[in-house]
Amino acid sequence: MSTPRSQAGRWQLSLIDPWREAFVIELRLRAVAGRHIGDLLAEVDAHCAESGEDPLTAFGEPREYAAVMAGAQSRPSLATPWPELVGQVARGGASIAGGALLLAGLAGLVHGGGRASVSNGLLCSAVVSLAVFTALLRRLDLLVTRPVRGAVALATAMAILVLPAALWHGTALTMPAWVALLVGAVLGAAVWLGAARTPDRIVDPRTGQEPEVGPRWSLWAVWALPLAMLLAGVAAALW
């Protein structure tokens, strides 16, 4: 089991440990603020360093301890509340629409003589994507607590949602390619700025630093799936 590390004499929070990882995921699911999570993690580190105990011995099961410490801050249910979901779904819808318009605009420039067309199938896939995205956000906890079943369900949903785009070719609407590219870029930029503006980072109360989360490459690994989807979309649009 990995423990918090001292680097150049300074202690740093670490999440590279199954107990701490499960503890933080449960606190995040309960919408506890990042600053408070940092405080709780530092408390666990300090106690374990002084007592020589591991977190499981000192604090018990991480999910149960997180539920207790979340206390009054905690949501009554792990399901994302609807008001919060509306904002997240709006951002998801904007990113899906923005991505589809960028791809349609790109295909229109290359193959369509300057006209972008959105097929019935692509429109249908976009709507299904939004429904899957909404369901995923609503019960994010199930994906975390039952990862195998969640991953199978997610992979199945993604395989099904590309079918309309691949098989249903009738044109739903057309527009100048530059309009599609411009609207797609504006939607994409709005989503990007919105996501960058609202981080709720975990902060170590002792140092003001963010915790160590893993090797540097793991920070980039989270972009692998979106990047692969983008490249596949661009390839499909240009093909």
Partner: protein, 126 residues
């Protein structure tokens, strides 16, 4: 999860907040030092999973305050201090607890219990 002293867990739960406030009334302390003081007082080894939620409740109720202090070569300590409200609560509930425990002691082990047993015997028609 209360400890391995042999004391029933529900006894500890009922009085642990006063015990922690009593430890803190002697001076500020960090979480692990509080568990050591409780153990030294004979209450057994109270786990972190019991003490820290209690400290969080006491802080939410304004009875203690906490502040991080940087450690020399260590991970730093969150030092807990009792507030005036906490001292008032300790005094008031401490006195009430003394009356309550004396009553319970008399009932369970003292004259009251003896009289009750004697009454039961007479009732059986000896």
């Amino acid at each position: 999860m209360n400890g391995d002293s042999g004391w029933p867990g529900d006894w500890l739960r009922g009085v642990l907040d006063l015990c922690v406030l009593a430890v803190l009334s002697r001076g500020p302390a960090h979480g692990y030092a509080i568990t050591q003081a409780l153990e030294a007082a004979g209450l057994g080894r109270i786990k972190g999973g019991t003490v820290y939620p209690l400290l969080a409740r006491l802080e939410a109720d304004g009875m203690v305050t906490s502040r991080w202090h940087a450690g020399d070569g260590g991970p730093g300590r969150k030092v807990i201090a009792i507030t005036d409200h906490g001292r008032d609560h300790l005094t008031e509930r401490g006195l009430a607890f003394r009356r309550f425990s004396q009553t319970a002691i008399e009932l369970v082990t003292g004259d009251v219990a003896t009289a009750a047993f004697a009454g039961t015997d007479r009732g059986d028609g000896i």
